[in-house]
């Protein structure tokens, strides 16, 4: 399979130069590289410029609500764990509106891959501050600058017990593809927080801004097997910004501990011959 096979009749509607393009390409590359059958891949999208990708990738798609791509993805995985399940979000989706789902998906270790297009901005709604916007950054809703400190998705995922925590950059497409491949292969919850310049609304976190700062953790010999070290690395944001895998751990995925699907996925279990007689007798 070629990545282009995953195209749909609809071409992306993002602004020219938007960071979403490279993420889209990396996703198709990763699915192609893993030779996944598109009819056995489900992608659950949030609402935003990022979520609009639902029209441009030819797998099964579930375009959910703002902030809600994760719970349906978890549900889909639980009832048919033979599918590859991916969730796609913006930073507003993932860390604002859907923050609660994010935390609990991490600790649940649901076997889904969470790709967060983090442009430090609410872009589809034309440029308000997001949970990851830098303190002091002016936006339409914060003309005097954001007062809060930005949320740290990597550190949050680590505290919430995620088993695969990574950061990518849409300016490093090949590296990003590789991260996505590893995240999809990981058995359990995998976060890939993706630095995605929004060329229209975010005048601070631009492509040059990131090109100057990002470096590949793995190229510097960083081993992603120590949570304490990962925490430390997660604090690094300034002159240098690390990308790559911060942390990975082997832990049984949520569905693998469900007794009801030990033999086969729930969706393939027959509904013939359901017998509630014993249950009714217990109520006598």
């Amino acid at each position: 399979m070629k990545p282009e096979d995953l195209n749909t009749p609809h071409k992306p509607t993002w602004c020219p130069g938007c960071g979403n393009y490279a993420i889209w390409v990396a996703l198709k590359n990763a699915v192609a590289k893993l030779e996944l059958d598109p009819s056995r891949v489900v992608i659950s999208y949030g609402i935003g410029c990022s979520g609009n990708e639902n029209n441009f990738v030819g797998t099964y798609a579930f375009h959910s609500l703002h902030g809600r791509p994760v719970p349906p993805a978890n549900g889909i995985k639980m009832v048919n764990h033979e599918l590859t399940v991916i969730a796609v979000s913006g930073d507003g989706d993932a860390y604002g509106e859907g923050g609660n789902h994010f935390i609990h998906a991490c600790r649940g270790n649901h076997d889904i891959t969470y790709l967060v297009h983090n442009n430090e901005m609410y872009s589809l709604t034309t440029g308000q501050a997001s949970p990851t916007s830098q303190k002091g950054m002016p936006s339409k809703s914060t003309p005097e600058g954001v007062l809060e400190r930005p949320l740290n998705p990597i550190a949050l995922a680590l505290t919430a017990e995620a088993t695969f925590v990574a950061r990518g950059f849409s300016g490093k497409e090949e590296h990003l593809t590789d991260l996505m491949v590893k995240a999809i292969q990981h058995k359990g919850f995998s976060l890939v927080d993706i630095l995605q310049p929004c060329v229209t609304f975010n005048k601070l976190n631009t492509f040059p801004y990131f090109y100057e700062r990002v470096y590949d953790l793995q190229k510097e010999g960083y081993q992603p097997n120590d949570k304490e070290k990962a925490f430390k690395k997660a604090q690094e944001w300034g002159e240098r910004i690390p990308i790559g895998i911060f942390y990975q751990e082997k832990r049984p995925a949520y569905h693998s501990e469900l007794f009801s699907i030990k033999e086969k996925p729930l969706v393939r279990q027959s509904l013939a011959g359901i017998d509630i007689t014993k249950s009714m007798r217990e109520l006598v």
Binding site: N54, Y60, R68, P72, A73, V79, H104, V284
Partner: protein
């Protein structure tokens, strides 16, 4: 009741005391012991929203014929504390019995002496302790004492105790039986039981379940092939989650407690989209959070069953009490216009079959279906014949097979079918790839803002409701075709009304009753027909604003101005309905 006359198998027993002392468990054992002797029961419990302290009550209405509601007059009261006497003395019938703690010097019974009732002081705690138990087991003493007084064979209680404590082993069983027996023997030996005029006598019958509306919904879901439930705890819907969790190994279910209700509903939608039958359950407060998810199911045309078990609102409201005030909310919940079905069963049996139907309707029409219950129906136990699983068969609606999909050149999930129902594929199926899109979409599911497409999609979705209206059962008219008074109600008020009708019949007043179970789409034709024939109509609802009344006005143009509305958090008692109607509508 006249002096010396004996009332057999017509009893209202009540136990009450402080919360946290096992009143609920004892009440259920009493109910089951009656049912195992072939008697019919309906029980009802009241409890505050706290774990310890506060006042708990549990009453069991026992009869030879099927009973559908509690009654207000108490014939035998087990008073575990002074509050019980103070709160319930006015409910006591003539010759009622009161069992209370003999050795509690603080218990003040002078108020009871006036009431012509019979007092049965029993050393409840002492008997429990003397027989090797703890003080909290005095409830078991009281159960034994009750049945001795009622002249009812001890073996039924014994068998219930055996089953209830089965998991705890023989020692615990024997101890509890011994303690109950001590209560039984104490009363037999110390009182002239024959002087107490209420008795129970076992009858021959096939075994009956004792179960709540919530359990009936859960059983209905299992029988309907529901394999996945995601929910967040909220009284009074939580027992559905509990019961399904207790049954997950028997029926291979996935039961997921989620981080919040938004997750619960959207996860259940995901599960349905992926091809299994899935549901969620909550009360009004939780459903408030689910509202956006409801619209998601509507827009993506994903089947979904939601059990909404009402309690009085707004906000936290009265967590452990009852009300029927979410009907309008459910009809209008979520932005935009899309179809939904609302079924409000009136009793335990209807709760089971309605839930089965809900799953069929949800898949056939690819839309959300509500089972709308309330605390009163959902938490009251009723004796019930076994359900017949064969009556309603699983019908999964238009699901495409792999071969059908392979024959299609280009599958359109949201094809403009005449019926509005476009066949579904499920993820994993080759050739079935589509976009389940919360944005307005074209026939493939791709986002579309085209005006003509939008209008056609709206017609496709909303048109389904017209067909639903043709298929769903009409409201049922109970009682004679011709009557002087016609009552109309929906959902759980059915129980007390059916019981009130027994009182009308006894007093030769001709009353009939139209029960609306399939509330939405609204069965306007049938309702109109009954109203036209009625001499006098009275609307009965457990809410303040007459929500069914407003629907009748909306869909038939008829205003029913005689209304009996109750919104104190308490259900109706049959006697209350009877009294109100006879007082207000005398010829």
């Amino acid at each position: 009741m006249k002096q010396n006359s004996i009332s057999i198998n017509n009893l209202n027993w009540k136990i009450a005391g402080e919360a946290g002392y096992g009143i609920k468990a004892s009440g259920l054992m009493f109910a089951k012991a009656c049912a195992r002797g072939g008697l019919q029961i309906f029980d009802y419990s009241e409890y505050p929203s706290l774990i310890r302290g506060g006042h708990n009550t549990y009453q069991v209405n026992v009869s030879e014929e099927e009973v559908f509601s509690p009654q207000s007059e108490v014939n035998l009261l087990v008073a575990l504390n002074q509050d019980t006497i103070d709160f319930h003395k006015d409910e006591l019938s003539n010759q009622a019995g009161v069992i209370y703690e003999q050795e509690d010097k603080k218990i003040e019974i002078t108020s009871l002496k006036k009431n012509n009732c019979q007092l049965f002081p029993v050393p409840l705690s002492r008997l429990a302790k003397e027989n090797g138990g703890k003080e909290i087991m005095r409830n078991s003493v009281a159960l034994g004492a009750s049945f001795a007084l009622l002249n009812y064979d001890f073996k039924y209680l014994q068998s219930v105790i055996q089953d209830s404590f089965q998991k705890k082993g023989k020692e615990v069983i024997d101890l509890n039986v011994k303690i109950a027996e001590a209560g039984f023997n104490y009363v037999s030996q110390n009182f002239d039981v024959a002087k107490y005029p209420y008795q129970l006598k076992h009858l021959k019958s096939s075994p009956r379940m004792v179960l709540t509306g919530n359990e009936a919904i859960a059983l209905g879901a299992i029988q309907a092939g529901c394999k996945f439930i995601s929910a967040y705890p909220m009284t009074p819907a939580t027992p559905i989650l509990h019961y399904l969790a207790s049954q997950q190994k028997n029926h291979n279910l996935i039961v997921k407690q989620t981080e919040d209700e938004i997750s619960a509903i959207t996860m259940a939608i995901g599960a349905n989209y992926a091809g299994v039958r899935a549901m969620t359950c909550t009360s009004g407060g939780g459903f408030s959070l689910m509202v956006e998810g409801l619209g998601l199911a509507g827009m993506t045309e994903t089947p979904l069953v939601i059990a909404e078990v009402q309690r009085p609102g707004p906000a936290t409201g009265l967590p452990t009490w009852t009300e029927q005030a979410d009907l309008r909310f459910l009809i209008h919940a979520a932005q935009g216009e899309f179809p939904r079905i609302i079924i409000a069963p009136g009793d335990v049996e209807e709760s089971f079959y309605a839930t089965q139907s809900a799953f069929n309707l949800a898949e056939k029409y690819q839309l959300p279906v509500f089972i709308l219950s309330d605390k009163f129906l959902a938490e009251s136990n009723k004796s019930q014949e076994f359900f017949d699983p064969k009556i309603i068969k699983i019908e999964r609606g238009a699901l495409l097979t792999n071969t059908q999909l392979q024959k299609m050149r280009k599958y359109r999930r949201y094809a403009f079918a005449k019926s509005g129902i476009s066949p579904r594929s499920i993820p994993g199926q080759k050739g079935g790839i589509f976009n389940a899109n919360s944005d307005e979409h074209d026939q493939f599911g791709y986002s579309s803002e085209d005006a003509e497409n939008r209008a056609r999609m709206m017609e496709k979705r909303l048109g389904k409701l017209d067909q639903v209206a043709l298929e769903i059962p009409d409201p049922i008219l109970y009682g004679p075709a011709k009557a002087d008074l016609t009552l109309i109600a929906w959902g759980s008020t059915k129980g007390p009304i059916i019981e009130a009708m027994k009182l009308f019949e006894k007093n030769r007043i001709r009353v009939n009753f139209l029960h609306v179970m399939y509330v939405y789409p609204f069965p306007a034709e049938k309702v109109k027909e009954v109203i036209r024939k009625a001499k006098k109509m009275v609307l009965i609802e457990n809410n303040a604003t007459a929500q069914l009344g407003s629907l009748i006005r909306e869909f038939t143009g008829i205003e029913i101005d005689r209304k009996l509305l109750k919104f104190s958090g308490r259900p109706f008692y049959p006697s209350e309905i009877y009294q109100y109607l006879t007082d207000n509508f005398k010829k």
